[in-house]
Every structure is written in structure tokens, then in C-alpha cells.
Symmetry: C2
Subunit: 435 residues, 2 copies
């Protein structure tokens, strides 16, 4: 039996000759079947989506863009001119400013079909869970803050989706949902039209079910290395590092096991893998990251705090009120510390083809109240380096676990080439989606 | 004869007992008289302004905010929910997304009357002049990119206005128009809802005709030092530095003369003033700043470039196309270099009560085609430190020249205290507005 359209990745759809409307109808049917179990959407208007599909089908072949008709789920902190943007905040209920974020414009220009808005934790800034459930285990969190974007792609409710990461909001849900997540270099994609959480860390990124799809998105977003890699990456003879980071003490057995398997799988393919221990000063990354994050939130959410602090998550209220009493002096020390570590990290990363690191502390935990622990993703966000979560491993309860691949800053395209090859190897990690 | 209402600063208006409508009518009369000569406004609807004034007058005394009824001119790259935001770009003609920038919300919450939109160069990112003329000399530029905000405050067409600075877009027009300009510490005020030019440098700030007004704005924006200075600053016995920066070779006779006079005026009041030569590595600030600016613009304007590059300023097209062929490696070297210089600058600044520096190369040049040279303001923007332009001096053609006061990062409130005292001293510099 032929694969139903909704299961196709963007790349598969684009080469299938399928009409956009047929692809979209199949996806809408899938959503009708699964939405009550997963609840990935903050806004979705099937009639509008179908009208967009028909509009796209009517465009002559020679005028079509490289993402023609590809449905994109959009985290609900990106402005979209044709849909509300509500930030999972009662302060922004039905908020519809009628403007597109820069990345939305780039995707529409490439022919993408902006499909709907996916759930986010409040302002993508807290770990309080959303309505969204993990499609692989409905009693478990899909992670956050890009909860709906991770779950929707995993559950075949859209082939690709947009997320943002300030600590671990792309990589964590990608790992929890068993999909690819890509956080590019900080600043490589414009953040215009996306609600600010922390100016120093917020990074625009993507979810997909294949690295080929991430490459399409990287093209549309204009991501370029200094030298664009052309040849596919082959594992044999290449040099990897495994880096547990200074937050490793928080890792559980699922992630420890995944990392051990990854080393073995890579070595089996003829790669060298050495353990990389970051210099002691990198132990400061986590505390510096959290301090700057809190201080940034102080100015970011003053606006909402003054309008209606009773409608703001207590964590954000405490940030605006500076409950932790972080002085600007400490704030700047942390900010400057991270800045001086970034070129050092690039230099360390340059010794390897890629660094393999934990994405999460373990498989998605039970419960929807919290989106889980982001400690293990934070290092790379703070250091501004690109990361891809590659799925492949499995936890004690059968849930997916991914690992992070990391390179130096602005090696986004090279990282994707490495990820494509590593993804095949990590298929030996034992994870298989039942969806 | 009593001072006509339009000449009052915000602070003077607030203590006057004047109704908002009376203040606003006087200002609108002033604009009717002067608009053809100055052309500071990109959008202004007198009827709407009057209806807002009446709405504010109807608010009971006990519910009024600290900026009750104060008219604010808004640079046309800040979103305002009740007015278009057009960025001086044909791509955004009549663009009206119906949302307020964070700073607009803070000001409205404090009772401010959002008065109209002031002219800006295209996306506040180029030096091509606007329609706006310098009110002190209509054949001369008012500076940019916050052209209208500087000119409107100088010409008594509003008491305060908003600007942004990425290189010299607040301090330059403040100096050219003979008013106070305040660029706070980078990141101290949220940039939510303001068009991005360069994420690493764009800073939200203010124009006013008194430092007392800047203090009101600093309150409304939530600017706080680690220790809020309470007592007024007195000049006697205090320690100033004069810093010409590594860009001094571009300075003209007007600025050289202003700096010499400033030293004498401060010493006459019993302050010590020493010459500060920044360490040699600070010579890299200007080239690093320009490199990061260009590279940032590459991702920032990709959106508009893809939509319609023929409608984009050629400079911005060249940035997106990376005509200068700046590699990411060079981009990161420049970014990291500036980051490591910032704490060093704070340390140097901590040896003085404030640093006195040139604001501009000289008085506003003739012609409206270019908004002038921003080289001398850029050092402080790149280093993220707060700056106040204090007017007081005069150029060879009778145009105003201001000087910059600078402190370390997050000493914004202390800087304003120093500026209040220095402003009185600089009144001995010979500048007198004829408006």
C-alpha cells in the first residue's frame, strides 16, 4: 500500500507530483483523527488552509518556489498576518496584528503554506506545560517551549514547523518527540516579528522529520557558511568528540545509554570518537546563562507587568521584580563571561568534525504540568553555536531520546551535512516511532 | 508676557496645571506655523491628537500617570497601534499593524499622549536624508536617522520624542538640533515592536529640551542603576575625562572648540578634567562596529530584499548581497572583539564621574541629501555604554554643537544626574536657540 500523503516529509512531497490540496487534505484528515489526543495547535482554520492550498495549486509551475505548498506549523510567538498570535497569554487573546515575522515572509516567498499556529508555553519563557501531549505517550510532556511544533511534526500533523530556543526550547521537544530539531547560529536568521524572551539568546529554528527538510529550510532562511559544503559527509575516518558538558550530573540513564550507544555506532562506522572535557571555566556557562536570561526578562516583560501583572506567570513576575536581586554588575559579568567563552568554544569545536552531546536529561517525563529540564541544551544556546537534535535512541519507557550535534558558529550548513550522515547511523539506536 | 504653552518642557507642563487640550492646541498651532519649514512629521492627525487630549483631560486626577498628557513624538520605526508605521520605505507605505512597541505601552501606561510619527531615514539604517530640515537653518540637515524626532523637539513641535541609535542616530541629531539626546545602556529598554537594523547595537532612546524630562522618561522606561543616585550632582571637586576617541581625526573646528570650552567651563566650576587616551586596542572599535553592522543588516533585510530589492536603498542591497565580502569569521572576530572591550571600557569609565566626548564632527553641514557623519558617536554605541548629548556650544555658522557625556554600562541614572549639572555649565558655551 502506498504511503498516505500526510506521512511524507516536505522533500518527499515536493518530488511526489502531489497537488498541494491533496497533501493538505490528507494532513487535515490526520489532524481530525489525532487532534484530541495531541492538541498541538493554538490556531488552525482548515477552510483557510484549503483555500491557501488551492491558491498555490493555481500558480503556474515556473512561478513556484522551492517550498511550494509545504505546510509549516508556526510557534505561536511568530507574527502571522493571516492568523492570531497569542503567545499563550490571556493578555494577547485573539491578538492579530496583521503582520508577518521576517522568517514567515522568507518562507512564504519560497512558496510555503503557513498552516497554523502551534502551542507554546507562555511567551516561550516558562516551563509550565501547555495543553499539548506527547504523541508517543499522552501522559508525558512533549517538552517546551516549542511544544506544539515538536508534537505536530512527530505526529505527522505537518512536515515542518518553526520554533525558537532561549535555553532548550527546540532541542528538548525535538528529543522528547523523536524528531529533528535545528537551532542555527544565534543571529543568523532575523528575529523580526517574534516575541522577545531574551535578546541575547533567542534563536529562530526548525523541526522536521528529515535532515533533507532542514536543508530546504536553511536555503529559504538564507543560511550560509563561509564555505558552502557540497559533498555529502561520510562518517568513516572522521573525528567526533563526545562532550557531556558541566551539567552532566543531571543526566539520567536513558541519555547516558544513548551517548554510549552513539559512540559505539560511530566507531563501528570507522569514526574516531574522543571524550571532550570542556575547560573548567565553561562550568560558568549554566549560571551565567540563567543570570542573563533573568535580567533580560526584566526589561522584556516590564510592558506586560505594567499592563496586568496578575495575568503574567509568577516566574515572569519574579523576573521583572528582580526577586533574585541580581545586580547589573553581576548581569554584565555573566554577559561578558559568555561572550569571551564563545570564540574559545569555536576553537575547541574546530578540532572535530562535530561534537556529540546530550540533548536532554532523559526521555520525556510523565505529566503535562512541566515541559521538563532544559539544562543539558543550554550550553550551546548560551554559546550561540548551531545544534541539531538527531533522534534514534530510546528510553526506559520506550520514549524517544535524541542527541545533539554541535559545531562552531556559522557552520550551520556543514553541521547539516554531518547530521544527515549521523542520522543514518543513529537509526541503529533502537528508536522506532509507532505513529 | 507669559511663555506660550508650546514652549514648555514636559516637566514644566506637568507642574503648570494646564489642561492637556490647551497644551496640545498650542503645540498644534506651532506645528501649523512651522511644519512647511521643518517637515518633522511622517504622520500626524491633529483631530486624533485633540480627541486623545480630551480623553486624557477627562481622567480623574487620582488616576493620572506621571506623564499625564505629555505629547510624545515617535520615530517611525516604532509600532503604534493607532497610527501607521512606515519606516520611510515604499515597501511599508500605509503599513499599520495595530500593535504598540513595548516602549509605547510603557509610555501610554504612564499617561503619555502618543502624538505622531517623526521622520526617519529608510529603516533607520542609512544616511540618505529625509524631507526634514534643520529648524535652526533650513538649508542644513537635522541629522539622522532620528531626523524628525530631533527637529520636532528643537522646534517646540513636541516636548519629547523617541529615537533609536545603531551608530549615531540619537546623539547626532540631538547635537545638530541643539537638544538633549539620551541613548541608554544597550538592552536596558526592550526593543520589542521596533524595526531591527542591527540587533547587536540598536538602542532605544529619547530627545528632550531638559534633563528633567529625560529623568521622567527614564522613570517610565524603568531604567535603574544598581544604586539609584538621590542627591543632585555638583561639579566642584568632581573628576572628568575628555576622550577624543580614535576617530578624532575626523573632527572639525566647531567640535574642537566646543571641547576646549567645555574643559575650561568645567575647570572654572572646580572640576578636574584630564585627557583620556583609550588604549590602542580601542582603535578597532570603529572598524569592528561597521563590520558587525553590515553583517547584521545582511540577515535583517533579507526579508525586504526578497520581497522587492528594487525598493530597497542601494546600501542595504549591498549589505544583503555582502558586497564587501565580509566572512562570518571576520564578522565573529569583530563581534567578539567589541564584547571583550566592553568590560574594559566600564573599568576605564569607573575612574571618572563622567567622560566628556565629541558628539559629532562639527555643526550640521549644509544640504539635506545626507544626514551627516556619525563616526564620533559610534564608539559608545558599539561599547553599549549610556550617552547624553548636552547642547551648549556653537559652530562657525551659528549652528548648535553638543558634547557627549558617557559613563559605564547601567549607570544611566547617575549619568542623568551628571548631565543635569553639566547642562547648566555648558550654557556658558555660547549657544542660544533663536526659535
Amino acid at each position: 500500500m502506498a504511503m498516505p500523503p500526510y506521512r511524507r516529509t516536505a522533500t518527499e512531497f515536493l518530488s511526489s507530483g502531489l497537488r498541494v490540496e491533496d497533501y493538505v487534505r490528507s494532513i487535515l484528515d490526520r489532524i481530525a483523527l489525532r487532534d484530541s489526543a495531541v492538541q498541538a495547535w493554538a490556531f488552525l482554520d482548515p477552510e483557510y488552509v484549503l483555500s491557501e492550498a488551492r491558491r498555490l495549486d493555481a500558480i503556474p509551475l515556473e512561478q513556484r518556489g522551492p517550498l511550494h505548498g509545504v505546510p509549516v506549523g508556526v510557534k505561536d510567538i511568530f507574527y502571522t498576518k493571516d492568523m492570531p498570535t497569542q503567545h499563550n497569554s490571556s493578555l494577547y487573546k485573539d491578538h492579530a496584528p496583521g503582520v508577518d515575522a521576517a522568517l514567515i515572509t522568507l518562507l512564504r516567498s519560497a512558496g510555503a503554506l503557513i498552516f497554523g499556529k502551534t502551542t507554546t508555553t507562555e511567551f516561550a519563557s516558562v516551563t509550565t506545560g501547555t495543553k499539548t501531549k506527547n504523541p508517543h505517550g499522552p501522559a508525558r510532556t512533549p517538552g517546551g517551549s516549542s511544544s506544539g511544533s515538536g508534537a505536530a511534526v512527530a505526529d505527522f500533523q505537518c512536515p515542518i514547523s518553526l520554533g525558537t530556543q532561549t535555553i532548550g526550547s527546540i532541542i528538548r521537544p525535538a528529543s522528547f518527540n523523536g524528531v529533528f530539531g535545528f537551532k542555527p547560529t544565534w543571529g543568523a536568521i532575523s528575529r523580526e516579528g517574534v516575541k522577545i524572551c531574551s535578546l541575547n539568546f533567542d534563536t529562530m529554528g526548525f523541526f522536521a522529520r528529515s535532515v533533507a527538510d532542514l536543508e530546504l529550510l536553511a536555503d529559504a532562511a538564507g543560511l550560509e557558511d563561509d564555505e558552502r559544503p557540497i559533498a555529502p559527509f561520510t562518517i568513516e575516518g572522521k573525528k567526533f568528540a563526545v562532550c557531556k558538558t558541566h551539567v552532566w550530573s543531571q543526566a539520567g540513564p536513558g541519555t547516558a545509554n544513548a551517548l554510549n550507544m552513539a559512540v559505539k555506532l560511530l566507531r563501528d562506522q570507522g569514526a574516531s570518537v574522543e571524550e571532550l572535557e570542556l575547560p573548567e571555566e565553561f562550568a560558568s556557562v549554566r549560571p551565567s546563562h540563567l543570570q542573563v536570561f533573568e535580567c533580560d526578562a526584566r526589561s522584556t516583560f516590564m510592558n506586560e507587568y505594567i499592563r496586568a501583572k496578575d495575568q503574567l506567570d509568577p516566574t515572569l513576575v519574579s523576573f521583572v521584580e528582580n526577586a533574585s536581586k541580581i545586580s547589573h554588575r553581576d548581569h554584565l559579568t555573566a554577559l561578558d563571561n559568555l561572550a569571551q567563552l564563545r570564540p574559545k568554544m569555536d576553537l575547541i569545536a574546530s578540532r572535530f568534525d562535530a561534537i556529540v552531546a546530550p540533548s536532554v536529561v532523559d526521555e520525556a517525563p510523565e505529566g503535562l504540568a512541566s515541559t521538563g529540564n532544559a539544562a543539558l541544551c543550554g550550553t550551546w544556546t548560551a554559546l550561540h553555536v548551531p545544534v541539531v537534535n538527531v533522534p534514534g535512541f530510546v528510553g526506559d519507557h520506550g520514549m524517544p531520546i535524541g542527541l545533539s550535534l554541535v559545531t562552531g558558529r556559522y557552520e550551520d550548513r556543514r553541521l547539516l551535512k554531518v547530521a544527515a550522515a549521523v542520522a543514518v547511523v543513529f537509526e541503529g539506536g533502537g528508536w522506532k516511532s509507532n505513529l
